[in-house]
């Protein structure tokens, strides 16, 4: 269908909201409480637009496009309403970008930048202490804009049902269980809330200070834990050769969701305790050797034994932990080089 956005005509598919349509057309409308996964909430009111024929301002996230719809996201009335929303949010929290982990990827910052808000007009003092009690997730309620994405994520997306809103009016706050520190709560640290948070109110503790979003290289891969095969993005500090953060990719099979292991158990490759060199046991001790020595020694031992006792005295374990390619390599080696079918793996544990 056709819509007219800021006097320009665009073709968009059926069934989209005005906000989704605008995003497709490359027109930025500030929005905070909407996330494709948690759906329209209509709460932050940052995405208000004028729609011809409809009274008052409409939230772009809740109204569906109709053929021929005329939408204005750039009138003074619209911009004034958007500015007030962003200004009030900036005024009611401590949005100090310099030290914030979300700097550069913060949706509030992006909206303020777009609307040209340098600093907040008002100052709404609130006593909201940081919560650093949890092992992997830091909470900075002073950066919370009460958009509710974390609450929706916790209750509807991962259904861990830990977060909710507590209190009312200006005191409205996200609470963990019955307003416990997160570390003392029933939260299982899946981190969905962190992934959904548009600001720096919920951040990955272990990534703190280890690199700005734009400094880290993003590599898509598959989680190494259970058999779900969650799709993840590694945020990598190449210079220090380490993974700084893991986020879920919004694709099948996990749609962005992860568990505590997939999101936070990522440092093991960088552990000092890694095995780094080939070793051969000499006089009961493992001694570092070159690859050539290790391979030559192994090949000759294998050859000697199977020449004497037959290939079926050779057995190989593949693994449910290593790649398809490596498993295939092992079976091919076992069958084609050694000449036995004695290959198996830990499918049973």
């Amino acid at each position: 269908m056709n819509i007219i956005l800021n006097n320009q005509s665009y073709e968009v598919p059926d069934g989209l909201t005005v906000l989704e349509a605008a995003r497709r057309c490359g027109v930025y409308i500030p929005s905070l409480c909407y996330h494709p996964k948690t759906g329209p909430a209509g709460k932050c009111r940052a995405c208000v637009v004028e729609i011809e024929g409809l009274r008052g301002l409409q939230t772009a996230c809740t109204v569906r496009v109709r053929d021929g719809m005329k939408v204005f996201s750039n009138t003074e009335r619209v911009l004034q309403a958007q500015r007030l929303v962003i200004d009030l949010l900036l005024s009611s929290g401590e949005h100090d970008c310099l030290s914030c982990e979300q700097n550069g990827v913060c949706e509030l910052q992006q909206a303020a930048y777009f609307l040209g808000i340098e600093r907040p007009t008002f100052r709404i003092e609130r006593d909201r202490a940081d919560d650093r009690s949890a092992e992997f997730i830091d909470r900075d309620p002073a950066r919370c804009i009460a958009c509710g994405r974390c609450v929706a994520g916790c209750n509807s997306t991962v259904v861990n049902e830990v977060l909710d809103f507590g209190f009312r009016a200006g005191e409205t706050a996200v609470i963990v269980d019955d307003d416990l520190p997160m570390g003392a709560s029933s939260c299982v640290q899946c981190g969905e809330c962190v992934q959904l948070c548009p600001t720096g109110a919920l951040t990955d503790k272990k990534a703190r200070g280890l690199g700005r979003a734009w400094e880290l290289e993003k590599v898509n891969t598959t989680c190494p834990y259970c058999g779900v095969g969650c799709q993840v993005t590694l945020h990598v500090d190449r210079a220090r050769n380490r993974v700084v953060r893991v986020t879920g990719r919004e694709v099948s099979p996990n749609q962005g969701m992860l568990c505590v292991k997939g999101r936070y158990a990522y440092e093991f490759p960088s552990s000092d305790k890694r095995l780094k060199y080939p070793m051969i046991k000499k006089d009961g001790q493992h001694v570092r050797v070159s690859w050539d020595e290790a391979l030559d020694y192994t090949a000759s031992r294998i050859k000697t034994i199977i020449d004497q006792h037959g290939p079926d005295t050779f057995s190989a374990f593949g693994s449910g932990r290593i790649t398809n390619e490596n498993n295939y390599a092992i079976q091919k080696f076992t069958r084609a080089v050694i000449g036995t079918n004695n290959v198996d793996h830990c499918a049973r544990t």
Binding site: R45, G56, L84, L89
Partner: protein, 572 residues
């Protein structure tokens, strides 16, 4: 640890509702009552477990509604309403007197644990304020002397009986026809005056016929919006397998409004008969009355009346649950009310979908005000033409007007829609002093100067023409002694307290406007602050999720615009 009795009671409450989560609020109430009016974290957890909701959900609900005490309170919890009508009646003096007498500040508890003093928002007692609510009991028309007597009695452990009595009058004898009658709340008396005949007539009719009748009568919603009830009912989907729910909105909380309680307390069967007619028309078997929690005694009157009607076999298969709110203005908004009835925080929903299609438990739902439903017996008994014979074109029928503030006989008066303001004020004993300004539709509508109000016909359309709204018909009268900036401040304090907190302009904007007005009233403000207030109001209007942004944006803007010099005179 909850007692066995409490647990059994909660289990009963759970069984009472179509969905168990709806029992969360009554269950929390049960837990609070059982534990000296205090809702401990442990009790909330226990209730959450019984009802089957998460700790966070239960705690979120407990901290949303102001009547749940998550801090300990004294044996007598004194709640003084200081909202605009009470302010106009001098409630501040009562509050200050209580502070002196009890030697505590607002929010504190006396060291002997006897008294906790709280300043609260509108108690729906505008015609009889100042009012002090002690636990479940209202003490109205309070003076300093009466307050002293009350405290003395409470110190002796005696809760004095609640006294009735406010001014009233009726020019129509429809809604207040039984007001003066003794025991009018009983079925026997109600039937003696012809009660339940309309229902019998309605039950003999086809729902479609009834719907046409109500549509033709053009009963505009008395809750505030003035939307025709018949049309609303007509929006229900046809041939839908889902159950249809009827909810009577009795969450009378708009400052200046105290009309519905007159019907519910004195003539509950009128409402019940009206609901039964509506339920038959829309095919509903489970109805609710959502009544504000402060009206505990009225809720009991309703429950008794429903019991009587049921026992007498008058309701057939219809069941009516009286559900108590727990202190939230926002729940007067129909979708917030539905959320609340589902056991959630009272945050309005995005519309569409409208409740007629997706309402309570995701089912088709009609929400009507008490007064709206209470005219149905008349419409059915006398026919739509008789109804249309009352009032002005497009604004038919009787209307209750609650008059408070600077009048000699504040109270509730029933007049045809379209009656001139002066007539209503005259019925209320006339203005004390010089009329300076008036708010005709509850606190959320723009204020009128005396000039603007002159000759104003009190109906929906005329009020809009005059730049305001008839709203709930709560008329607050201000004379020359009243400072409009103080009224504006008290108004915004109310909204900043009652905002549900979900949408930004209302949640944060109300706080900013409150700070600015506080500064101005305290003499710390500047001319720029006045412009900022206006600009915020301008922007907030029409940009919030529910009408609450408008509900404070419009009146505050009107007060500042129309009485700007008064605001400017505060600048030093």
């Amino acid at each position: 640890m909850l007692s066995e009795t409490a647990i059994l009671r909660i289990k009963d409450q759970i069984a009472r509702y179509p969905h168990r989560e709806s029992a969360l609020m009554p269950a929390l109430d049960t837990a609070q009552r059982e534990n000296g009016n205090y809702l401990s974290r442990e009790a909330i957890r226990e209730v959450a477990g019984l009802v089957g909701v998460t700790f966070s959900k239960a705690y979120g609900v407990a901290t949303y509604y102001s009547m749940y005490n998550t801090e300990r309170v004294g044996r007598y919890h004194l709640c003084v309403d200081t909202n605009v009508p009470a302010y106009l009646a001098g409630a501040e003096r009562i509050l200050a007197h209580l502070c002196r007498t009890l030697k505590i500040r607002v929010g504190e508890t006396t060291p002997d644990g006897l008294f906790t003093l709280s300043e609260v928002e509108d108690l729906g007692s505008c015609g009889t304020c100042p009012v002090i609510q002690v636990n479940d009991v209202y003490y109205e028309k309070m003076t300093v002397a009466k307050t002293d007597a009350l405290i003395a009695s409470l110190r002796e452990g005696i809760m004095p009986p609640r006294k009735d009595g406010s001014h009233y009058g009726t020019a129509c004898s429809i809604l207040l026809k039984n007001r003066g009658r003794k025991n009018a709340h009983t079925l026997a008396v109600y039937k003696r005056t012809g009660g339940y005949k309309a229902l019998a007539k309605a039950l003999a009719m086809q729902p479609a016929e009834l719907l046409d009748m109500v549509k033709h009568a053009t009963v505009r919603g008395r809750g505030g919006a003035g939307f025709p009830a018949g049309m609303k009912w007509g929006f229900l989907p046809k041939n839908d397998p889902r159950p249809v729910y009827l909810i009577c909105n009795a969450d009378e909380g708009e400052p200046g409004t105290f009309k519905d309680r007159q019907i519910m307390q004195y003539d509950p069967h009128l409402l019940i008969e009206g609901m039964a007619i509506a339920a038959h028309t829309i095919g509903c078997r489970q109805a609710f009355i959502y009544i504000r929690g402060e009206f505990e005694w009225i809720a009991r009157i309703l429950e008794e009346a429903i019991g009587e009607a049921k026992t007498a076999g008058l309701l057939g298969q219809l069941d009516i649950i009286v559900h108590r709110g727990k202190g939230s203005y926002e729940c007067g908004e129909e979708t917030a009310l539905i959320e609340s009835l589902e056991g959630k925080r009272g945050c309005p929903r995005i519309k569409p979908p409208f409740p007629a299609n997706v309402g309570l438990y995701g089912c088709p739902t009609i929400v009507n005000n008490v007064e709206t439903l209470s005219v149905m017996p008349f419409v059915v008994a006398h026919g739509p033409e008789a109804f249309r014979a009352i009032g002005t074109v497009g604004n038919y029928g009787p209307k209750l007007f609650g008059v408070s503030g600077a009048v000699r006989k504040p109270g509730v008066y029933e007049f045809p829609l379209g009656t001139p303001l002066e007539t209503v004020l005259a019925a209320a004993g006339g203005v004390v002093g010089q009329l300076k300004a008036v708010i005709v539709g509850g606190l959320s509508v723009p204020i009128l100067t005396a000039e603007e109000a002159r000759g104003l016909p009190l109906d929906y359309d005329a009020c809009i023409k005059a730049g305001t709204m008839l709203g709930s018909g709560g008329i607050m009268v201000m004379n020359e002694k009243v400072s409009i900036p103080s009224i504006a401040l008290r108004a915004i304090e109310f909204y900043a307290h009652e905002s549900c907190g979900q949408c930004t302009p209302c949640r944060e904007g109300s706080v900013v406007v409150k700070r600015l007005l506080q500064g101005l009233v305290a003499g710390r403000g500047s001319a720029a602050d006045i412009d900022t207030v206006l600009s915020i109001c301008d922007t907030v209007i029409g940009s919030t999720l529910c009408p609450t942004g408008d509900a404070w944006g419009m009146p505050i803007r009107a007060m500042v615009r129309k009485f700007r010099t008064e605001f400017e005179s505060l600048i030093r």
